[in-house]
């Protein structure tokens, strides 16, 4: 399974991502999920970014919250709505909104 997982919250109340082990995984950070890409607490980046996955963050949702490209961790790619459409149609076969 090739899974595109959307994370829309900063304090996740589910541990589903820890259980899934798809052949290919990306994590698309949207809404308050964008804080995983930008926030360091006491200097440490979000533990979510340590997973084996490709990471993306939606530019619209960064900028809505006063954040931008310069705030984003190195292993997260900043993308647009158009990129999300292409990712889910071309590179993944299933989606999960967590």
């Amino acid at each position: 399974m090739k899974l595109a997982a959307f994370v829309s919250d900063y304090r996740l109340n589910v541990d589903t991502l820890d259980r899934l082990n798809p052949e290919k995984l990306c994590i698309i950070l949207v809404q308050n999920g964008v804080y995983h890409a930008t926030t360091k607490e006491k200097g440490s980046p979000s533990s979510l970014l340590q997973k084996t996955a490709d990471f993306y963050v939606l530019i619209d949702d960064l900028q809505t919250r006063g954040l931008g490209n310069a705030d984003v961790a190195d292993n997260v790619k900043v993308i647009s709505y158009s990129d999300i459409v292409d990712l889910i149609f071309n590179e993944y076969d299933k989606t999960a909104w967590l």
Binding site: V14, T16, K94
Partner: protein, 137 residues
């Protein structure tokens, strides 16, 4: 004649949001989907409770007595009555110290023939691999 398989994954406990119940009612709607499709085409819906979602399966829920609200337990029984495949993650039950005796297993009183299946997470992973689309609640 084709089949589209859906996997409904319930990850959260009930009563705090409508989502776990909506998962069940939407899955049940697979039974009446034919009106929109060509003859022979079907949509199937499997339901899996994982993580804190297994707390939805506790039996003896008194929501109707106390809040005049259909319990999630009753919704699960309805899905058994309609022959849906309902899976509950064994590892998560174990984590909470729950056994098959603590959860809804059958709906014999309504004449349901299928039962809830307590399965290891690997079986739920297999279901997730086999379906065409996943819906997380």
């Amino acid at each position: 004649m084709a089949t589209t398989k859906l996997g409904f994954i319930v990850q959260r406990p009930g009563y705090k949001s409508e989502n776990p119940k909506l998962a069940i009612t939407h899955a049940i709607a697979s039974q009446s989907v034919e009106v929109y499709l060509n003859e022979g085409d079907v949509v199937t819906a499997d339901i899996a409770f994982i993580g804190d979602g297994v707390l939805n399966c506790k039996k003896d829920q008194k929501a109707m007595d106390l809040y005049k609200l259909t319990s999630t337990e009753t919704h699960i029984k309805m899905s058994l009555l309609l022959d849906l495949n309902v899976l509950v993650c064994k590892e998560d039950l174990d984590r909470f110290g729950l056994t098959e005796n603590d959860i809804v297993i059958d709906a014999e009183e309504f004449g349901a023939e299928v039962t809830v299946k307590v399965v290891p997470f690997t079986d739920i992973t297999k279901m997730m691999e086999e379906v065409n689309h996943l819906l997380f609640f």
